[in-house]
């Protein structure tokens, strides 16, 4: 029995349908990301789960109870907003205790729960501070504590990291994940940042234009993208133009070299052009065991990223991106150098 | 959500009724001069009154002079305080709030005591002197509004950078203010000017205590002697105020794009 069960959810604003019959179901304790570009409908879904938007049709069940038509304040959910949304007139302790106070918890118990929450987010002793005295990261941690203090049935996170600095973003997302695992609370996380979604989630719903493109664990989404949209939106992707040699045998010609690919589109005829795609990290400079295709090209550009060096390599008519690890003992390759690159034909994706 | 909207509309409707009914009632009253039928006789009577023309003209002139003096006093002060003497700002803010705290009636009492015909500066000793005093009083009255408008205007255009840019190109101080700063805050100044005008044009207390033939005292005189003309004059005054405020709104659209509307 699914804990969060969304069925045929549709939302129309005036003439435009922003969520088009979306269904998904998740188990208790899962961390779910809704990932997609802005305007894909992910935030609208979250706001419908929260109760701020009324679905045009469809239903939302949490823990076997239909909450589609409940008011937001009856749903017992917790939510963290993009811009913190801490109450500026209340200090940290009162912010965290707000939901408890509304629920009528006696002051003493509330005190204990607030202290427990402050310890959980690593801000013990901050209860008398006001929001303006805190950094963005601290404010967002308080917002998280405020959301989970009343022990909500589910936690909703609306791009909670996007207003923060890059470094804090990474450390806070790890912290959020640790707390979520610790409490075992079912969490729905909305983000447009694929790296964030990949690193934090149990499962990801990739959305585009109001539809689900793919639903799966992070490694499934990354390794086996179901659609071209998913493949390009999640992670970097190279495209190689190839010519079909024999559709039945799944052989193609890449830059004059024959290769057998895992699959070909049904429409591919002998002699027609196909686009093959592959991740930057499956390409290697020079030969490597298991790589059955070797191509030669010229380095067009070198980007030094620290532990990783990203090369852009011209291969005939194709421009490929390739990541290699930085080797402290040798200088990075230079622009204009001739290189050979190799890849395994089984890593080629046909979309 | 539905009920929320209902209460919003209800509140708005009640508020609107309170503000619109007196205007309609006044207008209706102003048309009743001729028995048994509506007419614009009251308006005709007002415009035919030579005292209307003279007192209104007097107030317009005083209003314009007030605006000019106000701008000359406020603009350079705000500019230099913002640019060079930020430590004076709290003091400026305090001064410009005073006219909102000290009633105009008290101030004019102070003027009459201080600047009477036997004092060092006998403003009230002559008609011209009293006119000058009246103008000074009006500048004071409008000070909070003029200051706020100009200060807002200067905040939005970052006068520090503009001034430095002009200095590097060799402009002198007068050129900077005249050619760079003033044109950029013109809209803000005009907003303050129209507000000043709206305040000055019907002002009664100070003008009547200084015995000047202004529009405000004229209105009170009409109020005690006539029945329908006051209503007509109220409508005329409302239209004048509306005109001044409407100008501020129109000007707001021409303000520098970064500016927060000052209306």
């Amino acid at each position: 029995m699914a804990f969060l069960d969304v069925q045929n959810l549709t939302k129309t604003f005036g003439q435009t349908t922003v969520v088009k019959g979306v269904s998904f179901a998740f188990d208790k304790g899962e961390f779910i990301s809704l990932l997609g570009p802005s305007g894909c409908g992910k935030t609208t879904i979250l706001r419908m789960i929260a109760g701020f938007e009324r679905p045009t049709s469809g239903s939302i069940e949490v823990d076997g109870r239909d909450i589609t038509h409940l008011k937001p304040n009856q749903r017992q959910l917790g939510m963290v907003f993009q811009a913190y949304a801490l109450f500026p007139n209340l200090n940290v302790g009162d912010n965290i205790g707000f939901g408890l106070k509304i629920a009528g918890m006696p002051a003493e118990q509330r005190r204990a729960r607030i202290d427990e929450m402050l310890k959980l987010i690593g801000l013990a002793g901050f209860d008398k501070r006001y929001p303006y005295e805190l950094s963005g990261g601290q404010q967002q941690r308080v917002a998280l504590a405020r959301a989970i203090a009343p022990r909500p049935r589910m936690l909703l996170l609306d791009e909670p990291l996007s207003a923060l600095d890059a470094k804090i973003r990474v450390s806070l997302r790890e912290e959020i994940r640790a707390i979520q695992l610790d409490l075992g609370i079912t969490t729905v996380f909305v983000t447009h940042d694929q790296e964030e979604a990949l690193s934090i989630s149990d499962r990801i719903v990739v959305m585009n234009a109001g539809n689900i493109e793919q639903l799966g664990a992070p490694h499934e989404i990354y390794n086996k993208p179901a659609t071209r949209f998913v493949a390009t939106f999640v992670g970097q992707l190279n495209t190689i133009e190839a010519t079909v040699l024999d559709a039945a045998a799944r052989t193609v010609s890449i830059d004059g070299q024959a290769a057998t690919v895992p699959a070909l589109p049904a429409t591919a005829d002998n002699g027609s052009a196909v686009s093959l795609t592959l991740r930057p990290e499956v390409l290697s400079v020079g030969a490597r065991q298991g790589n059955d295709i070797t191509l030669s090209g010229t380095i067009a550009d070198v980007t030094f990223l620290g532990s990783v060096i990203r090369l852009r390599i011209t291969l005939g008519s194709n421009l490929l991106s390739l990541d290699t690890f930085n080797d402290q003992r040798t200088a990075p390759p230079a622009r204009g150098e001739k290189v050979t690159v190799s890849l395994a034909s089984k890593d080629l994706l046909v979309l | 959500m539905k009920t929320n909207r209902f209460w919003a509309w209800l509140t708005f409707a009640l508020g609107a009724a309170y503000f619109i009914v007196p205007l309609l009632a006044t207008f209706e009253f102003s048309l009743r001069m001729r028995r048994g039928t509506y007419s614009f006789d009251a308006y005709a009577s007002v415009f035919a009154d030579p005292y209307f023309v003279s007192s209104f003209g007097y107030s317009v002139v005083i209003g314009l002079v007030t605006i000019v003096v106000g701008v000359l006093v406020v603009v350079p002060a705000v500019y230099f305080v913002r640019l060079r003497m930020p430590w004076l700002r709290p003091f400026m803010e305090f001064i410009t709030l005073l006219p909102l705290v000290i009633p105009a009636l008290v101030l004019v009492y102070g003027y009459i005591r201080l600047y009477n015909s036997s004092s060092i500066i006998p403003f009230t000793g002559s008609a011209l002197g009293t006119d000058i005093l009246l103008t000074g009083a009006y500048v004071t009255l409008a000070l909070p509004y003029m200051y706020r408008a100009v200060d807002n205007g200067m905040r939005t255009i970052d006068i520090g950078t503009l001034t430095e840019a002009a200095q590097i190109m060799g402009a002198n101080q007068a050129q900077i203010i005249g050619r760079i700063i003033l044109p950029n805050i013109l809209v803000a100044i005009l907003s303050g000017a129209f507000l000043t005008f709206a305040i000055v044009i019907g002002e009664f207390t100070i003008a009547s205590l200084l015995n000047r033939p202004a529009f405000g005292p004229y209105l009170v005189g009409i109020g005690t002697n006539r029945a329908y003309e006051p209503a007509a004059l109220a409508i005329i005054s409302f239209i004048i105020t509306w005109g001044a405020m409407g100008m501020i709104n129109v000007l707001g659209r021409f303000a520098p794009r970064t500016s927060a509307r000052t209306d």
Binding site: A50, P72 | T11, Q173
Partner: protein, 287 residues
């Protein structure tokens, strides 16, 4: 040009600020100090408290009291009603064009004070006013049931015509500053709309509300033109009393007149001091 040799540059700063300072001294400080001085001076020119003691007569105290009541009531109701209308327009999501029209109208109405306002209310709620006549036609004779435009409530009702818009103009930016997310966060934590306003919305608006309240109070307290045009010299409010004193020494004691004016300054200052103290406590959470 040897700038280094002759450091006599024109002191623009001082020249530019001087008129402002001179103006403030001539038209604000000196007159006020003059009044304060006169309030403590007897006819012979020596220091005295007699003028201050002289204020404690029934007539003068009554005048102060009526003024305070009218200013307090019109400020209080003006602030409440003004806030309600602003909330209805901004939070009730009424159409945007309506909002800008209302704000423009507020700019006009807040400046539509003084004599013309009195005329308008005479034409509306005077004995021959349209509303009076219509209500009488409908069977409600407001004057027979005790209403009088020249009374406490009549004057308060009239003052509201500029007090409400003034409140709306000053409080609108604060209401705009209330973030939608605060309301949503409160709802997610189980709060009703009432609870949101009780614990979050109104406390955030409170300092601005108080500030405007004291402004409205001073605004009404110093007003005279409307009252004068409505009632002539009949109404015993402190501004009318002082006006008569300035005009013709009605109290037959210039020192007492100065004391009366000083009392007005003290009361409006007090309103501001109370605001500053309360706001400082309510604003702990502000930067």
């Amino acid at each position: 040009m040897t700038n280094t040799a002759s450091p006599r540059r024109i002191p623009w700063d001082a020249l530019a600020v001087a008129p402002f300072i001179i103006f403030a001294v001539m038209f604000l400080f000196l007159p006020t100090l003059g009044i304060i001085g006169a309030a403590f001076t007897d006819r012979a020119g020596s220091f005295t408290f007699d003028n201050i003691f002289g204020l404690f007569t029934d007539q003068i105290l009554a005048a102060y009291w009526i003024s305070i009541r009218i200013s307090g009531a019109s400020a209080f109701f003006g602030a409440l009603i003004g806030l309600a209308i602003v909330l209805a327009i901004i939070r009730g999501r009424l159409p945007a064009p309506l909002r800008s029209a209302v704000m423009t109208f507020s700019g006009v109405a807040s400046n539509f004070a003084g004599v013309p306002l009195a005329f308008a209310f005479i034409a509306t709620l005077g004995r021959l006013g349209l509303v009076t006549i219509v209500l009488k036609f409908l069977g409600l004779d407001i004057y027979r049931s005790g209403f009088n435009l020249l009374s406490f409530w009549g004057l308060t009702l009239t003052y509201l015509y500029f007090q409400i818009p003034l409140m709306m103009l000053t409080i609108a930016p604060a209401v705009d500053g209330l973030k939608k997310e605060w309301n949503e966060a409160a709802q997610m934590l189980g709060a009703s709309q009432f609870q949101f306003w009780r614990y979050v919305g109104l406390p955030i608006l409170w300092p601005s509300f108080l500030g405007t309240l004291s402004l409205l109070f001073a605004n009404a307290f110093g007003a005279i033109a409307t009252a004068w045009a409505l009632t002539g010299s009949n109404l015993n409010i402190v501004t009318v009393l002082l006006y008569n004193q300035i005009r013709g020494d009605a109290l037959q004691n210039p020192g007492l007149g100065a004391a009366l004016a000083l009392g007005m300054i003290v009361i409006t200052s007090l309103a501001n001091v109370i605001y500053l103290v309360v706001a400082a406590r309510a604003e702990r959470w502000m930067k």
